[in-house]
Symmetry: C2
Amino acid sequence: MKIAVDAMGGDHAPGEIVKGALEAIRQFRQEVILVGDEELIRQELAGERSESLSIVHAPEVIAMSDSPVVAVRRKKNSSLVKAVQLVREGAADAVVSAGNTGAVMAAGVLLLGPIPGIDRPAIATMIPNKKGKTLLLDAGANVDCKPAHLLQFGLMGYLYMKEIIGIEQPKVGLLSIGEEETKGNELTLSAFQLLRKAQINFIGNVEGRDIFEGTADVIVCDGFTGNIVLKASEGMVTALLAMAGEEIRRSLPAKIGMAMLMPALRSFWRKLDYAEYGGAPLLGLNGIVIICHGRSQARAIRNAIRAGRESVENNLVLAIKNCIQQSLNQKVGQF
Amino acid sequence: MKIAVDAMGGDHAPGEIVKGALEAIRQFRQEVILVGDEELIRQELAGERSESLSIVHAPEVIAMSDSPVVAVRRKKNSSLVKAVQLVREGAADAVVSAGNTGAVMAAGVLLLGPIPGIDRPAIATMIPNKKGKTLLLDAGANVDCKPAHLLQFGLMGYLYMKEIIGIEQPKVGLLSIGEEETKGNELTLSAFQLLRKAQINFIGNVEGRDIFEGTADVIVCDGFTGNIVLKASEGMVTALLAMAGEEIRRSLPAKIGMAMLMPALRSFWRKLDYAEYGGAPLLGLNGIVIICHGRSQARAIRNAIRAGRESVENNLVLAIKNCIQQSLNQKVGQF
């Protein structure tokens, strides 16, 4: 099994990307294809060789500022397009990229195509919380959704947590403004009725606070809400630390206290660190695509490669295909 | 000037509500009318008297589980309806309630009515952040919004921060998924064009992380998104504290460290405490209505009474009326 890695995507490319790939090769004996400017990649490798490592040269780069669809159509020799192309051709089993999220999405849709029955692929982000972790989708791929899309997200999220993470009967919740089924906006009220008929463990509406309580294993929402909630949470942690830090710096006892506290907080920080979770799978495509945070460093890339590997090993695409086919046959709701 | 206080609304009613009212009377010499079961209120007062305090008897209570509109229509003798009625009749200048939020909204709309030109009143919540505080609206009153509603929220939020909080040229941002004006969903893309033409200091789109960065003084969003973001943030703080607390309890040095840290963190906690902000004004009504958190204790009620008083002193309703009238005359956008 081979994982194609977009060596030129992300704020720390290609250095940290190459480093992460090497870690994956060493630690999981994973075969990796680095896709990007060969000379730059070789510089980063600094003579390092491995039977598990190959390079596919791609002279172009899609920038963060590029218009996604246009860039994917025009830059045929970009590291991203070439990497996704490898999956399309069967030369690689999954692709990992920390580049322009919109462009990764566009390349996935244009080159791999959606699974029949799935209208829109969704970004599925793992969120740490009190009880472990919750998969939230869509985290920003689809800003305007229809009820059937939320149903599809629910099915895909359920399958991901079951097949890849290994949770027996993942609990699927619909993000809304109250627990009662009468609470919500037009979109969620209709989606609720579709989800309740689906063959998943639907637990009904969940609220904003449930994301961090760990009430559900999967939380379904439109990409607009998902994106805002995720960015707000990220921003809140950063702001809280900055605000607390300011108070602490003013006092010597507080500084000493903080130093004594740090070791205990290390595993806590680790839980909050996106790098632990190895990127967000783009679910619903005819192939495995893992989107990494633009700020990803080696550890995040290594973990994303592992996430891609696990999705391949567990036949994620086939599992979603079969489930969607079944749902289509049963004509569940408006699906 | 008199403030009517719903003595029976909230988890800690009537005890904490009465206590909060007494604090307001003592500290700001505010005249207060306590509305609710007279006997229960007198018990809480325990003989305490003041020229600034009067009681209006209301034998009924609207429960948290009551259907808002039905309850407001049927329970004419409830503490909430009677308190809002006092504002309608001019016997009080503002009303404060920690009861059923939907019922407070319904009573406001049915008894006071919206300001001409305002389609929907909005709950405006103050959020502490790195630079001070940001007013977010709508925080949950309107789950499905049209672009014109978001424009109205923007105008009202701008006026509130200017007239009541005293910020010279409040910066108004539209909550979306990217800074560029091309980023957003159908609703925000249209609302962006209306807001840019309004006579306010519109700074364009802001993202989830900007809420806690303090990028804007006012953040406009639909009530579905606003409610979810607020509850997610609240839930996140609770979960973070619980998760950190668990790690700290396992280690003696960490426990000592935490004890040394606490004094420095006190003003930080204070900033995060909703009770500091004294409830959320319901903007857009022909009268001042302040909605408090259901968990409000005396300090939150006292501060809500102060917020109501400041809104009255600064002629908030008139300011919104004039501004909306002006906007209507200028036919700003689709307004």
